[in-house]
Symmetry: D2
């Protein structure tokens, strides 16, 4: 069993930390929210007064923060933890952030001689609670092998995408594509319905044809086509519009930095962005069909 | 066995007609190309001097033409065949055309009391030759039951999309979605590759994640990721850029007519259109990745 | 003074017909709305029981109808007027319709040996009432010279765009560009305002720089920047979202027919279309800034 | 006359520095290119061995660098100049960079108590040589008044956009709008020409109508419509595709940071980006019409 510092106890981080505790590890935790810290302390974690204190003597450092700016501050800010991490420790950042920040953090950790991984997750809060997350990992293969026991305590699938930053890139590529699949599926279903087709029949036909995709088959956005999806419950729960909008922003930033063209990806970013501005930011992202429906089903 | 009039013997129509002959039907055929007609005549069809002569006495009329204007002319033009089709005949138009034209033809045939179906296909010239096409059918269920033996001689799958025109709508919805999937998949792979990821690794990760879709898994556009796809042979063969561009135009026209918004669909139309203008019209549509690649792989 | 048949007495057609009466011409009018006809009859026009009766003996035929389908029906439908127009008459269609329909009508009239013009207008209902419309004309130069006196009674500017259909094409090119200018200007102002710039200061700077355009300078969409524009009165009056959406649809149809790429034009079509679906169809088209504003100014 | 440190002597910076010399100021200059430094030394400037040496004792510091990363390094890097600038000096950064970087630099200079301006320019290398640049300035009004004599030596127009960073924002808003105007104008002209209109006639009509804009009137992209524009000389000279692409990237980054939607702006970014990938990066940005032309005029 290992001594782990876990920093960031939000909707994702808290259940992940709980699963590490359950697996028998010794945890020192920190979060700006005292109540979040208390929740873990009640379950047996040591509460640290700040991030530096949390990483003191830890064999493994895991962070799960909302955005690039927080990760930059934690590792590279004026009070950053990089100089305070113990020699030989393994560092795993599970936040979804820009590849540029992931690489800057990785460089600073490499300069210390530490093993470091960017390991963003998919699976949402439900996957975090159930310990069934998917990790998409960037970094050295050897570091990944060291990390497997901890990742296995929190998740089910681990993909090795490549070197430092590759985990972030692979995740944003996937999520950009997902944002396009969902919006494209919504357009096709709305167009068919406007011409009198039954969206369920059309979904069946496309699901057996070349329009087949994850969003159509497992997460159908048209109300009434599938049960047990957000469209069946007023688009509550699921993966929020604002989270998809954030991920599409990361994809666009990566494209701008590398002078890539992602015309559908950036258009999708704007579609989710306008949907959020209209007040739908906390709805599930499959609600992107709403602005396309003529009969105001919603 | 039935007396069938088959009109339109192009790359798709000719092999479809051959399969009907092989199934034992008696065919009268017509096409503007004498050599196309000769090909079928050599195989045992009766060659008719014009479309009117072909449909004379036929129990079934099947047409397979390039675009709306040809179908409009064949059925509704000044020399149109509607008045010349025998009472009680079944009419099946397999062309991919606008829903508006399909409905206009259906109305004229209904006024004659004839059973009529719009039955556009997918599966390409290979499917036409092998008799493994998929038919997406609009029209009455009873008419579809009458048509099954003939469709089965030419294809493998039959979907009933709804009433008149629904076959065309379902096909263009599917193909619009396919155009989006392919272009979106191309963007995601090009973005990942520009950041140093191996497109094969990234394809594997997305194929097991929420980016999963038909284009990624069965028709990967990145050269070297899959064998036996157009990307593995310089984008030759397959489904051409110009055909995808045409289908996206039909989708856009349907959206305009019904005041639907299909922002990704229309952007995809323009991407394939610009790709065609650059000289790529006859390449496979997965070549849409070419304008996105930095290293000029092509 | 001439005998004129005027068909279509809607918000645009009625004031145009009144101006022809004022100029001393003898009018025979028809519209499906009896009250619209009565309004002109009260002003001295002869009310005709149908379009055929209206054109009987007329030296000039002018039509002003809502869309392609109405113009097609009037001239080319089963009860179409083409065979009933007097030899030597001049025909002017002022409707904004598809170039394809304009050309089909022009061909039928040319086959009769009649002079024909497509002459869509800009200037809105205010320009129609004031007699200050702009006509964008397609057709022979000689026919245009014959038409000038009548056009001058209804408008101020006349542009000769080219042969038959060119008036429609020029108008939809201009209006597509206008739709892009307005939406692009809205994006630039909303982006600046979100970063704390005063939209009036930013408008002044761009108006003296390379961002200068008609929408920015004369029809600013940001509330509070200009007086006497729709943005200053809750986007009432002006040129409606639904009318812009229709014109962008005509532009897209023309692009599809000619295999042109108009990516910004078609994206603009979808932006106005989604705005209309959200309930804004009757607001002025400069309200396209609303879905972009963070602070929900509207 | 003042002691000025001028850092960055590229295509823009060198002629700007020459104009300051001509106005009688004393210059200390630095650039990584020795030949660029020599050019100014030959004209009477003192050549400094590095940036720190250049700013030593300067009353005014002016920088003109290619991108955010260079400006960040110059001011805020490990060898940054901020601590070395003399008390009371005025700092003017003329580079076109991200608003975020501009604000970070401004904060560091404000912490030193120094007057600082972001003052990006338009007018290109020709304007830099002729001393007719336009400056769009962010910062305190008092600082701008101090700066006027120096700006006047290099340019003709000065706009005050607002506080720190506002100059950058105003410039990228304008240039994003310009990128849209140019691409939209190109689409309208290409659509008209594909339907047989004379692009010159269409330009005249739109220039007198609501499609009027800077790109159409002063910088027409269609070959043959205007003289003395890049379209008249094979798109050589002018404002390059890659520069427009860079500015649209800055606009997209600003939109992402502020959660703004700029759908046309980001689509324009991708259009110029794909145009650059096709090999047109060094052509004038009005060459964005090339991928739209059917007859391969270019």
């Amino acid at each position: 069993m290992s001594r782990i510092a876990f920093i960031g106890l939000g909707n994702m981080g808290a259940p992940m930390a709980h699963n590490l505790l359950k697996a028998g590890h010794e945890l020192a935790v920190f979060d700006l929210s005292a109540s979040a810290v208390q929740g873990l302390a009640d379950a047996g974690a040591r509460s640290a007064p700040d991030a530096r204190a949390a990483v003191e003597g830890a064999q493994v450092v895991i962070s799960m923060l909302p955005a690039s700016t927080h990760v930059h501050g934690l590792y590279l800010g004026q009070q950053g933890i990089v100089p305070h991490i113990a020699d030989g420790a393994l560092v795993i950042d599970c936040s979804t952030i820009s590849a540029a920040t992931a690489q800057a953090v990785a460089q600073a950790l490499a300069a210390r001689g530490l093993d470091a991984l960017d390991a963003p997750v998919s699976g949402g809060t439900a996957g975090a609670a159930a310990g069934t997350l998917t990790f998409i990992v960037g970094g050295e293969a050897a570091a990944l092998e060291r990390a497997r026991p901890y990742l296995s305590a929190m998740g089910k699938n681990v993909f090795h995408a490549g070197g430092s930053g590759a985990g972030q890139i692979a995740k944003i590529c996937n999520n950009m594509l997902l944002g396009i699949l969902m919006a494209g599926t919504a357009e096709a279903l709305a167009l068919g319905a406007a011409h009198g087709l039954d969206p369920k029949v059309l979904s069946d036909i496309m699901g057996k044809s070349s329009g087949r995709n994850w969003a159509l088959e497992l997460y159908n956005p048209y109300p009434g086509v599938m049960e047990n999806v957000p469209a069946a419950r007023g688009y509550s729960g699921g993966f929020g519009v604002d989270l998809m909008h954030k991920d599409l922003g990361l994809a666009a930033e990566a494209a701008i930095a590398s002078r890539c063209a992602v015309p559908l990806g950036e258009l999708a970013r704007n579609l989710y962005g306008m949907h959020s501005l209209s007040g739908a930011g906390t709805l599930d992202f499959s609600s992107i069909i709403q602005p396309l429906l003529k009969d105001q089903l919603y």
